[in-house]
Amino acid sequence: MTCTEFEKYLPDLIDGEARSENAAHLGECAACAELVSDLKAICSEARNLETCEPSPRVWANIQRTLEAEGLIRPVLQPGGVLAEPRRRSFGAWLLPLTALIVLGVGALVYSNRSAVSNSTTSNVGVLKPPVVVPRASQLDEFDDEQLVSQVAPSMRAAYADNLRNVNAFIQDAQEDLKLNPDDDDARHFLMEAYEQKESVYDLAMNRSAQ
């Protein structure tokens, strides 16, 4: 008997039903003997574990997810209220949880592939979106310095000067908006100032991306 053939009888061995040829293989093969010993130890320990029931909320979430995916149908009690899920033993609720994990991983892989294909197709066309630019309102002096250091040396002075001018624009616009919070023009100026800053970052990052 080979080890592959022996493995078919493992469940019986664990349950204590041994055949003569299985026993003979165990005597000859140290690897299979060790495997059987380990499995028996695990089963023995598992019987001694306290049953740990998950909270009803866990069950409800799993049920809702599986129903949403169409894997199970809602079970209605008389009166139209959904039945409580059956309580299961510790090991038996592993299957729906595994299904949930598999669905989640599958959704994640699908969404990543969609993001990659979207970024690829968005490169086609005149108005392709530039490199992702951080929100101008959250950029600070450190970000500006980092940006300037990334551009070509011949352009650093120009970028530094224009960033200073744009920051002055933002500051003026912010002060004006504080004084005139209901003024649409004040809001407009602040938005334009941030967009100017984003333009600077856009230009610099497009250059450094080449």
Binding site: V126, A158, E192, A193, S199, Q210
Partner: protein, 283 residues
């Protein structure tokens, strides 16, 4: 005293130098066949790019490389063509210059990027996007197209743009618009000056915004406009006859803002600067 012999020797040296310089230039040509509404992208790190219409459905691109420290990567995927200058070891902004002359079908969409060098496009009907750091940008004779131009401090000039959707941004470069009409024209600058000379078309929307750059608009008497002009801290001067509006979203402050109409007020013109000067002049 310089002798005739010395002048002759100097002339010979100059001719030899010129010949030597041009001998390092490398000329390459690319030809592609495309269908309608092709998509052409030129990414030139340093150097000018000129785009003009071609005859038929051919894209013809001539590139003059100033040294062997730069090469051209080119790629065609169906109707999409992409050329990019690629700097090699030892390249500098001077020896990595490439001059592109691009001929495309008039309905093609064109995207051009360059740090320096003149970016020029004319007589096209497809969408146009040009972007440069200090590059001077010139666009003329474009109609029924989206035009997007952006520079850091390079000056931008648009001439005779009709029925366009135009968006122009320069942080520090001056922006000049001659005979540019919508339906939509938006111009934004931080410190650069904005100059508009035209009639604002019929029924378009025009917005000009700056932080400290002055904004001048020269308008013919027959223009049909609804004008709102405002400077937060600068002056507004008006030499163009405007009729007062019966309803306005704000109360104009003389010398700081104005609101008025001319003709049938077909086009909306919104001019705003934070601390620059606004001048409306009659042509």
């Amino acid at each position: 005293m310089v002798t005739r012999h010395q002048v002759g020797q100097l002339a010979i040296v100059m001719v030899v130098c010129a010949a030597t310089m041009s001998a390092t230039d490398i000329r390459r040509e690319f030809k592609y066949s495309v269908g309608p509404k092709a998509n052409i992208s030129i990414n030139n790190e340093y150097g000018p790019v000129t785009v003009k219409p071609s005859a038929g459905n051919q894209v013809i691109i001539g590139a003059t490389l100033h040294s062997d420290k730069v090469e051209i990567d080119n790629n065609q995927n169906g109707n999409r063509i992409e050329l990019k200058s690629h700097m090699l070891t030892g390249a500098t902004p001077e020896n990595a210059q490439v001059e592109f002359e691009v001929f495309v079908p008039a309905d093609a969409s064109v995207t051009v990027h360059s740090s320096t060098g003149l970016l020029h496009a004319e007589q096209l009907r497809g969408d146009l996007a040009m972007e440069g750091d200090s590059a001077q940008v010139e666009v003329r004779d474009i109609s029924h197209a989206h035009v997007h131009l952006k520079t850091l401090n390079g000056p931008i000039t648009l001439t005779n743009i009709q029925y366009g959707h135009v968006e122009v941004t320069s942080v520090g470069g001056n922006i000049t618009l001659n005979s540019v009409s919508g339906p939509y024209v938006e111009v934004t600058s931080t410190t650069g000056k904005i100059r508009y000379d035209g009639d604002f078309g019929i029924g378009g929307e025009y917005k000009m915004t700056s932080h400290t750059g002055d904004i001048d608009a020269t308008i013919p008497a027959e223009a049909s406009v609804d004008v709102t002009a405002r400077s937060v801290r600068g002056d507004v001067q008006n030499d163009f006859p405007l009729a007062p509006k019966s309803h306005s979203s704000f109360i104009p402050v003389p010398g700081r803002s104005l609101v008025g109409t001319a003709g049938k007020a077909a086009s909306s013109v919104l001019i705003r600067t934070f601390s620059g000067k606004i001048r409306l002049k009659k042509r």
